[in-house]
Symmetry: C2
Subunit: 355 residues, 2 copies
C-alpha cells in the first residue's frame, strides 16, 4: 500500500434497514475497501469503492485451490462514537493465516487505517439498538487465472461491512446445545486449524448437519490425533467453569486462537478468577459433568461473544449443565466484556479504539 | 437439469495458440459450460456460453467458507476423433466430494452429456501434438451472498477447457525428486482428504515451498495420526515396485482415490503384475530402498499420468532410485496407459469414450 487511499463515490446510497429484523450476514453497506497485490508492486491499489460484485476469472485460484483467509470483528455505536474492539489483533491473526497458506502478508498498520477510513465513510451504518453492531469482514483471496497447484501471483484484500443483531437471532443469552463429534475431525497438528482459512469451514459442515439432525445446535470437536481431547466448537472456542476456576483447551496448532478467547482469559484473570489453559480429556469432562465439578460451559467468539451451553452430548450421554440456565460466571463475563465493547464501562486494558 | 441445454454463440473466436509453447492451465477456449442450482429448481439452467468472468458477490460463500470442489481430466485427439478417458469416474468422484462438503450432487449422466456437447462445440481446440491434450476442469462452488457458517443455498457448476502440453513442461518422462514431509500434515481420517476440495490444495502449499527450498520438486505426505504411513504426493498418488510387485498405499479416507491410480492397478493386474494395496510404513520403505528391494517409485495422476521418482528424502537421508533413471515397469505402464488414452492401442477395459 505505497499509494494513497482512493475513494470512489457511489451514485446513490441504499436505504438503511431495520437491523432488528435483518438476518445475520445478509445486508451490506454502500462501500467496501479493496486493495490488489501484484508481484511487481505488492499491495499498491488501496481504495474505497461502491459495494459491487467481484469480477473473477472462472479459473480464479481461490475457487479452485482455496487460497482464501478472512477475519471477523465488530464496530459498536455509543452515541456519536464508533468503537472497535482490538482490531489490531484481527490483522495480526490475518497475517498468520496468510503466511500458513503461502499468501503475501498485509501491512497491519495500513490495514487498520484503511478500516478506520472506511468506517468514517460508513459511520451512519453502525446501528445503535441493543446487541446490534456493524459486523466487519476483512478477507484476502487469490485471483490469478491459472490452473495448477502453486501459490497465486496476484491477490485481492477487501473489507465489507454488514449491520447485524445477535448472531443467533436473539439479543438475550439463550443456552445452546452441543454434540461432541467423535467421527469427523476438524483439524490436526501440522494442518491449518489455527488459521482462519475458508477450507476449514466447508470441511465442518457435514458434522454440523449431523449434530443438527441429532437435535443439537453445534459441534464440539476433538483433537485429530487421539480423538480424546477437547478442541473447539464450530465457530467458537470453549470454556468450562470447574471448581470455580475457568478452564479452556490450550492452543496447540489445531485450535483457532480466538480474540474473544484471549480477551476472556485476560478479563477473567483481571477480575481475580483462576484461569487454566490445559489439555482437557473428554472422559475427564464427562466425569466432571457427572459429579458436578463442572458447573458452567460456554462458547466464546466474535459473532456471539459468549454462548452458554445448556446441554452437552458426550459419547451418546446427555449432560445438562446448570439446569440449562445461563450460569453466573458466564453472565458476569458476558456483561463485562460487552460493557467494554459498547463503551458502557471503563476499559482498563486499552482494547477499545474510539473513532 | 430438467431444462434443455442452451447454447449462446460467441461474437468472435480466439486465435488458437501453439500448444507446445503454452504454460499448463493458462489458456482457455472460447466456450464454457455452466449450470445453476437453486433450492426451488435444483440444477436447472444448463448452458454453453462464451468463456467469461464470474460475477460474484464479495460475500460469496465459496470465497469465505470454501464450499468448492473440482475435477480434472483430459480429451485426446486421434485424427478426427476426440477421446476421453473414464469421464464417468470423474463425475462419480465429484459427487463424493460434493457430498462431503454438504453441497448438492449433480446428475452424472447429464454432466457427461453436457461435457460431450461442450467438446463438440470446442473440438478444434483439442491439440494433436505429442503429449498434448485438452485439459478439462469441471468445478462446483457456492455462490450465495451470505456471511455465516452453514451450507450455501445456491451453487454454480461449470466446465472450462484448457489446451495443454505435459504438466511439467516436458513431453519426455523425467524423474522427479520427492521430500517426505514429517512436520506438516495434509489430512487425517475423519477429514476431507479423500475429496477433491479446494481447501486441501491451499493447505499443501507451505510444505511444497519447504520441499522446493530444500531442493525437491514435490512432497510425499505421511498419515495425520501417526505420521508414519505413506499417503500421497502433492497432486498424485504414489506407487512402488518392490520385489517386482506393484505396491501402493491402501485408501483410508485421507488419501485421494485417484482415477489414474485405479487405472494403473487394473492395467497392471491385467498385464500379470501382482498389485498390493497396503499400509506402507515409512521406516519399511527406507529399509527397502536401502537394501534394494524397492527398485522403482512413481507418482500417478491425471496431469502427469506417471511421474517417475528418481530421488527421495526420508528423515534427512537421500535415496536414489534406479540410478535416477526411468524404471522399466514405470515406462511400460506409462506407455500402455497413454497408448490407450490416445487410442493408439486397443482398450480392453472399455475406458475410452470416443466422440
Amino acid at each position: 500500500m505505497s499509494q494513497t487511499l482512493q475513494i470512489e463515490k457511489a451514485n446513490e446510497l441504499k436505504n438503511k434497514p431495520d437491523v432488528s429484523t435483518v438476518q445475520f450476514g445478509t445486508v451490506f453497506t454502500d462501500y467496501m475497501f479493496t486493495n490488489k497485490y501484484t508481484p511487481e508492486y505488492g499491495w499498491s491499489e488501496p481504495s474505497i469503492i461502491p459495494y459491487q460484485n467481484l469480477q473473477l476469472s472462472p479459473s480464479c485460484q481461490a475457487i479452485h485451490y482455496g487460497q482464501s483467509v478472512f477475519e471477523g470483528l465488530k464496530a459498536y455505536r455509543q452515541g456519536d462514537d464508533i468503537l472497535l474492539f482490538r482490531p489490531d489483533e484481527n490483522f495480526k491473526r490475518m497475517n498468520q493465516s496468510l503466511s500458513r497458506l503461502s499468501m503475501p502478508e498485509i501491512n497491519e498498520e495500513n490495514a487498520l487505517n484503511a478500516l478506520y477510513e472506511l468506517l468514517k465513510v460508513e459511520r451512519d451504518w453502525v446501528p445503535d439498538g441493543e446487541g446490534q453492531s456493524l459486523y466487519i469482514r476483512p478477507f484476502v483471496f487469490a485471483d490469478e487465472p491459472f490452473l495448477g497447484v502453486r501459490p497465486s501471483e496476484t491477490y485481492q484484500f477487501s473489507i465489507i461491512l454488514s449491520p447485524v443483531g445477535g448472531y443467533y437471532g436473539a439479543t438475550q443469552l439463550n443456552p445452546t446445545s452441543i454434540y461432541v463429534e467423535d467421527d469427523f475431525v476438524r483439524s490436526v497438528r501440522g494442518g491449518v486449524g489455527f488459521a482462519k482459512v475458508s477450507g476449514n469451514y466447508a470441511a465442518s459442515l457435514l458434522a454440523q448437519k449431523k449434530a443438527n439432525e441429532l437435535g443439537y445446535e453445534q459441534v464440539l470437536w476433538l483433537d485429530g490425533v487421539e480423538q480424546k481431547y477437547v478442541e473447539e466448537v464450530g465457530s467458537m472456542n470453549i470454556f468450562f467453569v470447574r471448581d470455580g476456576e475457568l478452564v479452556t483447551p490450550e492452543l496447540n496448532g489445531s485450535i483457532l486462537p480466538g480474540i474473544t478467547r484471549k480477551s476472556i482469559i485476560e478479563l477473567a484473570k483481571h477480575k481475580g478468577y483462576t484461569v487454566k489453559e490445559e489439555k482437557i480429556h473428554i472422559d475427564d469432562l464427562s466425569e466432571d459433568l457427572h459429579n458436578g465439578k463442572v458447573t458452567e460451559v460456554f462458547g466464546a467468539g466474535t459473532a456471539a461473544v459468549i454462548a452458554p451451553v445448556g446441554r452437552l452430548n458426550i459419547h451418546g450421554v446427555d449432560y445438562i449443565v446448570n439446569d440449562n440456565q445461563v450460569g453466573e460466571i458466564s453472565l458476569d463475563l458476558f456483561n463485562d466484556l460487552t460493557d467494554i465493547q459498547y463503551g458502557r464501562k471503563e476499559d482498563p486494558f486499552g482494547w477499545v479504539v474510539r473513532l
